[in-house]
Amino acid sequence: EAGVAQSPRYKIIEKRQSVAFWCNPISGHATLYWYQQILGQGPKLLIQFQNNGVVDDSQLPKDRFSAERLKGVDSTLKIQPAKLEDSAVYLCASSLAKVRSSYNSPLHFGNGTRLTVT
């Protein structure tokens, strides 16, 4: 099966600019996640979708970050305006999990987008 696709692989922007990342999950995976991985740290969940609905965005900095998953398939994550501390790898993952036991099913990760904010 095809894996989780993410683009772009790399992005360099100046602070206060905006940026968007795209993710296409594995076909049939209803649950989609965006993680932020800062250098030297483990991934941190930003937002979780079940189909096209948000089920957990408690750790998403909503003043600058937004995400959507139209039609319950592809997803985009946007940062506007970007700050220096947003420099990180943004990982998209998908799974077959149901919401209430969303950690029971393995997550399948994309290769990530490395963002550098200068």
């Binding site: 989780v4 483990g42 991934p43 941190k44 993952a93 950690y103 393995p106 997550l107």
Partner: protein, 117 residues
């Protein structure tokens, strides 16, 4: 609050040597435990998971991990390391936040493994 501690930031072993990567967790209930591996420029790949039952679980690529409730640990082991095992390894716990029905994965900071030829 849930947390995962990987005390070793970087480990170096010789090819063919045995390996143990440490992981300790903090969670009030029975945890769901995972080990993921991340090669440079790649996403994370699941190595193995523990939900219940036998406390010694087998994973892919010859890895195994042992759940020890008394020590709140879930250490990853491999009897003989190959050069291709060089990567970053993440321990994770699946848990609910207090008062929430949503499950979430909490990752440790990772352990970077270097393998000498």
């Amino acid at each position: 609050a849930q947390s995962v501690t990987q005390p070793d930031i970087h480990i170096t072993v010789s090819e063919g040597a045995s390996l143990e990567l440490r992981c300790n967790y903090s969670y009030g209930a029975t945890p769901y435990l995972f080990w993921y591996v991340q090669s440079p420029g790649q996403g994370l790949q699941l190595l193995l998971k523990y939900f219940s039952g036998d406390t010694l679980v087998q994973g892919i690529k010859g890895f195994e991990a042992e759940f020890k409730r008394s020590q709140s640990s879930f250490n990853l082991r491999k009897p003989s390391v190959h050069w291709s095992d060089a990567a970053e390894y993440f321990c994770a716990v699946g848990a609910h936040d207090r008062g929430s029905t949503l499950g979430r994965l909490y990752f440790g900071r990772g352990t970077q493994l270097t393998v000498w030829p």
